[in-house]
C-alpha cells in the first residue's frame, strides 16, 4: 500500500475527484492548506499599492492505494490538475505499513 499526497490548486478539486472515481477510488481526505513552491507568494492590494503574502491557499488530497495502482493513479491525478502554469502543485508517494477499517476491524489491503 502507498499513500499519495497531492498538493493541488483549489479549483482543481472536482477534476481530481472525478479522475479518482473513474479509476475506482471513492475514498479520499481533503484539507485546506497554505504553502509555497518555487513561485513564492501572492501579491495583494493594500489601500494604496501592494503587499506580498508568503503562502498561497492550496488543497491537499490524501488517498491510499494498492501498490499496483500507484502509477495509474499518479498519472490520473497529475493529468487532471495540470494547467502548465507555475503553481500546479506537487505529488508525494509514501509507504503505508497497515490500515484498519474501524467499523469491521479489517486490516491491510482489505481496509482500503
Amino acid at each position: 500500500m502507498k499513500k499519495i499526497e497531492a498538493i493541488i490548486r483549489e479549483e482543481k478539486l472536482d477534476a481530481v475527484r472525478e479522475a479518482l472515481e473513474a479509476n475506482g477510488y471513492l475514498g479520499m481526505t481533503v484539507s485546506e492548506v497554505s504553502g509555497r513552491g518555487r513561485q513564492g507568494g501572492l501579491t495583494l492590494q493594500w489601500r494604496v499599492g501592494e503587499y506580498k503574502v508568503d503562502f498561497l491557499p492550496k488543497l491537499k488530497i490524501e488517498v491510499v492505494v494498492l501498490d499496483e495502482d500507484v502509477g495509474r493513479i499518479l498519472n490520473a491525478i497529475a493529468n487532471s490538475v495540470r494547467t502548465g502554469e507555475i503553481g500546479d502543485g506537487k505529488i508525494f508517494v509514501l509507504p503505508v505499513e497497515n490500515a484498519v477499517r474501524v467499523r469491521t476491524g479489517e486490516e491491510g489491503e482489505n481496509a482500503i
Binding site: 495583494l44 492590494q45 489601500r47 494604496v48 499599492g49 503587499y51 506580498k52
Partner: protein
C-alpha cells in the same frame, strides 16, 4: 429662547448617530490588522466610549465650552454638568436643551481620540493608550475645540470656519497620530516587509458603512437646527463621500484593480474633507471637494509609505490631510447664500477667508504635533508606550486582553 422640539429631536438623534461612529471606527480599524490583534484594535476605540464619555461630563465639556478664559480655554463653571440643564444655553444651540448640545459634543470628543488609535495598533500598550487618551483629551482636544467652537475662542473670533470638525476632529487626530507614531515606532517586521494581511475586509466595509451613516449626524447635526441648513449639509456630505469613493476606485483601477479596501478608504477621505465645509458650501461642491480629497489622500499615503513611517492605518493621510484639504476648501467654496453665519470663499471674491483657514490649519498642526509629542514622551519615559517584543509577537489580543477574536478552531 424656548426649547424647540424639532431641533431637540434632530440633535439627540444626531448625537446617537455620532455615537455609532466609534464602534464604526473600531470595526474599520479592526478588519485591517492581523488576526492576532483584532480585539485589541477594536478595544482601543470602544474603551473610549467609556473613558471619554465619563471625562466629558466631569470636566471635558467645561474646558471646551465653559465661559471663555483669554480665548484659549473654557472655565470650570460647567464641571460635573453644573449649570448645564434642560434649559438652552444662552450662546450654544440656543433652541435645544443645553444637555442635548453637551452630549452631541461628547460624541465628537470620543471619536476624535478613537481615530488616533489607528496609527499605533498592533504594538501600543493598552494601559499606555488609556493614559495617553486622558492627557490628550485634556491638553489637546479641549483647548482646540475651545479655540474653534467655544464662545470667545480666538480662532472663532478670527473668523475661521469649521462647520463640523475638519480642524477640531480630523486635523487634530491625524497630526497627533503622526506625532505619536514617531515615539511608538514601527511594528516588528515592518522594516523587513513582513506581510501584514488584513484579517477581515468585510468588517472594514461594515465599519466604513457605519461611519458614513453616522456622519449624517456629525455634519447635518452640526446645523444644530432641524431645517434647510441640516438638509444642505446632509446632501453635501453624501455627495462628497460618493465622489471620493468613486475617485479612489478609479485610482486603484488605474494602478491595478478596483480594490474594495481602497473604495472604503476613499469614502472616509471624502467624509473627512467635507466635514469643515458641509454647512458653508452649496451641496454640489461636494463633488470637487470629494474628488480632490481622494487624490490628495491617495498620494499622501504613498508618500508616507515611501518615507518608511509605520503610521499603520493612515490616520494622517486620510483624516489629517482630508481635513486639511477640507478646511482650505471651505475657504474656497463657502458662500453666505448657503449659510448667513458663514462667509464667502475665494470663488465668491473673498480672498481673506482662505488666509484665515490657512492660519488656523498651520497653528493647529503645530500645536497638535508638539503637544502630542510631549505627552507621548512623558508616557514613554515613565510607563513605556510599547508592549514587550514577546507580547507583540504573540499578539495583543492575548497579551493585553486575555482573549482571542476567532476561537473554536476544533469543532
Amino acid at each position: 429662547m424656548p426649547v424647540n422640539p424639532a431641533d431637540t429631536a434632530w440633535l439627540l438623534v444626531s448625537a446617537a448617530l455620532v455615537m455609532l461612529m466609534t464602534p464604526g471606527v473600531a470595526l474599520f480599524y479592526g478588519g485591517m490588522v492581523r488576526r492576532k490583534n483584532v480585539l485589541s484594535t477594536i478595544m482601543m476605540s470602544f474603551a473610549l466610549l467609556g473613558v471619554v464619555g465619563l471625562l466629558w461630563v466631569l470636566y471635558g465639556y467645561s474646558l471646551s465650552f465653559g465661559p471663555d478664559k483669554w480665548g484659549i480655554i473654557g472655565g470650570l463653571d460647567f464641571i460635573g454638568l453644573r449649570m448645564v440643564g434642560q434649559e438652552p444655553s444662552s450662546v450654544y444651540a440656543t433652541t435645544v436643551p443645553h444637555l442635548a448640545y453637551m452630549i452631541f459634543q461628547a460624541m465628537f470628543a470620543i471619536i476624535t481620540v478613537a481615530l488616533i488609535t489607528g496609527a499605533v495598533v498592533e504594538r501600543m500598550k493598552f494601559s499606555a493608550m488609556l493614559v495617553f487618551s486622558v492627557l490628550w483629551l485634556t491638553l489637546v482636544y479641549c483647548p482646540v475645540a475651545h479655540w474653534v467652537w467655544g464662545s470667545g475662542g480666538w480662532l472663532a473670533k478670527l473668523g475661521t470656519l469649521d462647520f463640523a470638525g475638519g480642524i477640531v476632529v480630523h486635523i487634530v487626530a491625524g497630526v497627533s497620530a503622526l506625532s505619536l507614531v514617531r515615539l511608538v515606532g514601527p511594528r516588528r517586521g515592518f522594516r523587513e516587509k513582513e506581510p501584514m494581511e488584513p484579517s477581515n475586509i468585510p468588517m472594514v466595509l461594515l465599519g466604513a458603512g457605519l461611519l458614513w451613516f453616522g456622519w449624517f449626524g456629525f455634519n447635518a447635526g452640526s446645523a444644530l437646527t432641524s431645517g434647510g441648513l441640516a438638509a444642505s449639509a446632509f446632501v453635501a456630505t453624501n455627495t462628497s463621500a460618493a465622489a471620493a469613493a468613486c475617485t479612489w476606485m478609479i485610482l486603484s483601477w488605474i494602478y491595478r484593480r478596483p480594490a474594495v479596501l481602497g473604495m472604503a478608504t476613499g469614502a472616509v477621505a471624502g467624509l473627512a474633507a467635507i466635514t469643515p465645509a458641509a454647512g458653508f458650501v452649496s451641496p454640489i461642491m461636494g463633488i470637487p471637494i470629494g474628488v480632490v480629497a481622494s487624490i490628495v489622500c491617495y498620494y499622501c499615503m504613498f508618500f508616507r509609505m515611501r518615507l518608511g513611517i509605520d503610521e499603520s492605518l493612515d490616520v494622517w493621510a486620510v483624516h489629517g490631510m482630508g481635513g486639511t484639504w477640507g478646511a482650505l476648501a471651505t475657504g474656497i467654496f463657502a458662500s453666505v447664500a448657503v449659510n448667513a453665519a458663514g462667509a464667502d470663499g475665494l470663488i465668491f471674491g473673498n480672498t481673506m477667508q482662505i488666509v484665515k483657514q490657512l492660519l488656523a490649519v498651520v497653528v493647529v498642526w503645530v500645536f497638535a504635533f508638539l503637544a502630542t509629542w510631549v505627552i507621548g514622551k512623558i508616557i514613554n519615559v515613565t510607563m513605556g508606550l510599547r508592549v514587550s517584543p514577546t507580547e507583540e509577537t504573540v499578539g495583543l489580543d492575548i497579551s493585553q486582553h486575555g482573549e482571542r477574536a476567532y476561537g473554536g478552531t476544533l469543532r
